[in-house]
């Protein structure tokens, strides 16, 4: 049976900056930062409250993509077109305050939705995430 996603790939523009952002601002734990023989840097972080799901912070320029495709992906990230998905939070409003104070850029403040409380944030590269506390 399928157990879920163990790694979610996130295209980032700069892995050093992403590492800093995801660990010091979003509070993720650094789980790996390895250089592979093929030039790829395997950079993974785990959200503080996650047991088995990690984010793989990938640089398109050092991935399986050819150079023109990597440039297209980088442009899409920079212009804000891509979203890796939904970040689940245990307390959307409190985390919104804390993350805002750290300089995390929100597109939308917490709002009550039929399925929970949701805000929308961007990472340092331009990826947007729904930031949601689901209704119990």
């Amino acid at each position: 049976m399928i157990m879920g996603m163990s790694f979610v790939s996130v295209w980032v523009l700069n892995q050093d900056s992403a590492k800093e952002f995801y660990t010091t601002k979003l509070g993720c734990e650094l789980t790996n930062d390895l250089r592979l023989d093929n030039g790829m840097r395997w950079l993974t972080v785990r959200p503080e409250g996650s047991k088995d799901q990690e984010l793989l912070l990938m640089d398109p320029a050092h991935s399986m993509l050819d150079t023109p495709t990597a440039e297209q992906v980088r442009a899409l990230v920079a212009k804000g077109a891509l979203s890796p998905g939904v970040l689940a939070t245990s307390d959307c409003r409190e985390d919104y305050k804390a993350l805002s104070a750290l300089g995390v850029e929100f597109l939308q403040e917490p709002a009550v939705r039929p399925y929970g409380i949701e805000a929308v944030l961007r990472d340092d590269s331009g990826n947007w995430y729904s930031f949601t506390q689901r209704t119990a």
Binding site: E71, R74, A75, K79, S100, Q108, A111, V112, T132
Partner: protein
């Protein structure tokens, strides 16, 4: 990206454009002029409009209009305010231009839209963020109907491209969200803008 388009601008330029667009998303109800957005992004007025259009397929004025109309749709679905109140809540200054822009994008007047939404009933279980980003995010590839990029639009909204509003409007968002937005609450101070 598409054939025939000029090469995409450099990443730092795209980042500045995205931040300008994010500001429109956040502060859609504020009387923020396109000229000041251009200045914040480090562009001349005309160059900003061209660069924004190249990146997002429509002018910043058109994007702001679409954002305002999209917010108006939510209020029309979920809040018991008059059309005039909603017009002002989302940043339009004239009921006439609100009704005209709304009808162009939605294919019906605000009142008709509200009546139809009431008939359709409750909210669909689709995350509102996806409606937000989908409907106000990247438009379909600009077609010939988009018209030329205006060289020097005035402070009012630029021409609205003739691209349709896309699929049916997103789900009715929560009343709290809608009400929270009515007074055009200023963005939290942490939401910094580029210097």
């Amino acid at each position: 990206m598409s054939a025939g388009q000029q090469a995409p601008p450099d990443l730092s330029a795209l980042r500045m454009l995205r931040q300008a667009r994010d500001r429109i998303d956040r502060d859609y109800a504020e009387p923020v002029g396109i000229a000041s957005l251009a200045a914040e992004a480090g562009y001349s007025h005309t160059h900003f409009i061209r660069a924004f259009h190249a990146a997002y397929g429509e002018t910043p004025g058109a994007y702001r209009t679409r954002r305002r109309v999209e917010r108006a749709c939510e209020l029309l679905r979920s809040v018991n305010l008059s059309v005039t109140e909603i017009c002002h809540a989302v940043g339009f200054t004239s009921l006439g231009s609100f009704s005209a822009r709304f009808s162009e994008l939605m294919g019906q007047s605000p009142s008709a839209y509200r009546a139809e939404a009431a008939r359709r009933g409750g909210p669909a279980p689709i995350p509102g963020c996806f409606a937000l980003m989908w409907r106000t995010g990247l438009p379909a590839a600009p077609g010939p109907a988009d018209g030329p990029v205006p060289a020097a639009p005035g402070p009012a909204d630029g021409p609205v491209p003739a691209t349709g509003p896309g699929p049916a409007p997103g789900p009715a968002d929560g009343l709290g969200q809608a009400l929270g937005r009515v007074p055009a609450a200023p963005a939290p101070p942490q939401e910094r803008l580029p210097a």
